[in-house]
């Protein structure tokens, strides 16, 4: 057990000297350059991240803005659409109504025309029939009668006929 548990003062002194030399050399000549490059890189990365964050925020704001604009536009479009639809419906309704009215009017007119024509035809027919009856009666009876009284007689007979 002689070597391992023995604390050799020489070894302690040499180890301290070695460690101090190593510490001096590395911290004086090697570490500053590493530290500098590390720091500059870290700063660069931090700046890049900050920049990216700022840009992201800006983009977010823009996105929200444009989304709002889009929403507004959509709303406007739907509003326009509904008004147009309403207008169209109104127009259609109006047109329909007008058409109906026109139709009814036309029908009415036609009806009236028919009525008038019918009445005309009836009266004409009546006159014709009266004439015919007079001539026929003149010819058949060959009785000289006063034309006027005969016509009156015939007309009375016709009046008794049913209207149509």
């Amino acid at each position: 057990m002689q070597d391992i548990m023995n604390v050799n003062p020489g070894l302690i002194i040499w180890s301290i000297i070695n460690f101090c030399i190593l510490l001096f050399i590395l911290s004086k000549f090697a570490l500053p350059a590493m530290k500098k490059s590390l720091q500059s890189r870290e700063e660069g990365i931090k700046n890049a991240i900050d920049e990216a964050n700022a840009l992201n925020e800006k983009a977010q704001i823009l996105l929200i803005e444009s989304q709002g604009k889009l929403d507004n536009a959509q709303k406007e479009v739907s509003q326009i659409l509904t008004t147009a639809k309403n207008l169209a419906e109104q127009n259609i309704q109006k047109a329909n109504e007008e058409a109906e009215k026109n139709k009814n009017q036309k029908i009415e007119e036609a009806k009236r025309e028919i009525e008038r024509s019918k009445n005309d035809a009836i009266s004409e027919l009546r006159n014709e029939v009266a004439d015919l009856v007079v001539t026929a009666t003149e010819k058949i009876l060959e009785v000289k009668l006063d034309k006027e009284s005969h016509l009156k007689l015939a007309k009375d007979q016709i009046e008794k006929l049913p209207k149509n």
Partner: protein, 335 residues
Amino acid sequence: MSATENTESLENELNSEVETTTHETEGTAPKEVSPVTQILNDLGDHEEFSFGPLHADILPVILYDEGQFHFYSNRSSMEASGEYVTEHHHIVNSSSHEAPDMNLSITNMVAFQWMAMILLVILFFTASKKAKKSGDKAPSGVHNFLESIVVFIRDDVVEPNIAGKASVRLLPYFIVLFMFILVLNLIGLLPGGHTATGTIGVTAALAITAFFVINYTAIKESGIKAWFHHLLGGAPILLAPLMIPIEIASMFIKPFALTIRLFANMVAGHTVLFSLMGLLFLFQEIFLAVPIIGFATFINLLELLVAFLQAYIFTMLTAIFVGLAIGEHSNEHAH
């Protein structure tokens, strides 16, 4: 080194071994060499450089004795000078048979530290060169690897524990501390490598530097008055006779715990590995090799984990102690 030198050094070693055994037989009680002492000797520090089967008597011996420094280029030249000899693996004065006042020799573990230092300097300088070139671009290779460690030490070890400017000033210390322990641990895991962090001397040295860092930072950050006030531990002044010894003890126990923790963790794994390998020689059964090698591989992987873990724990605890030393002072200011 050339083969002839190698054989020469082996011869020297054999000769010294023969000498020591003759010494032992001549001595009063023959010393028993158990496998345990063998293992523990292998784990410990030596005067000669060894890496696996390679043993080389190339490390200088520096002795301080009776107010005078003695330099020898290696152990055999020391023996040749006749002033000092090696007895039972210890250097003693040839005439008085007493150890010198202080043995400042470059030992095996110091050489391994130098290997780690050279490796670290090469790695960090490569990374530094790349850092200067790369600018704002992403790091690559060694630079990337070391930078990830630097960032890890900064973000997970130093900054959560140490408040304020001290964390910036102490960052190089913690990076170097972590890398030094880690590389020493990993070199110890190489086949034939020795674990410098598995000797109390090295871990004690690291803990002593930690002790100074802790107290220096505390005094610098909060002032000497607060540091003395801290010795009360926040208790009323009446408890001073009780608190001051406790606080002073805790000041020294912290680095002591660091020393023992790292040392014991590194030695334990190697001891288990050596013991497993020793079983092979004890039983001399070829079939036993399969489970033993499997288990040894497992332990080796475990040691790999421990190497990283202990480097982290040592660094982390030092950071926590520094943070406590500063933090408590700033609390005291608030009272």
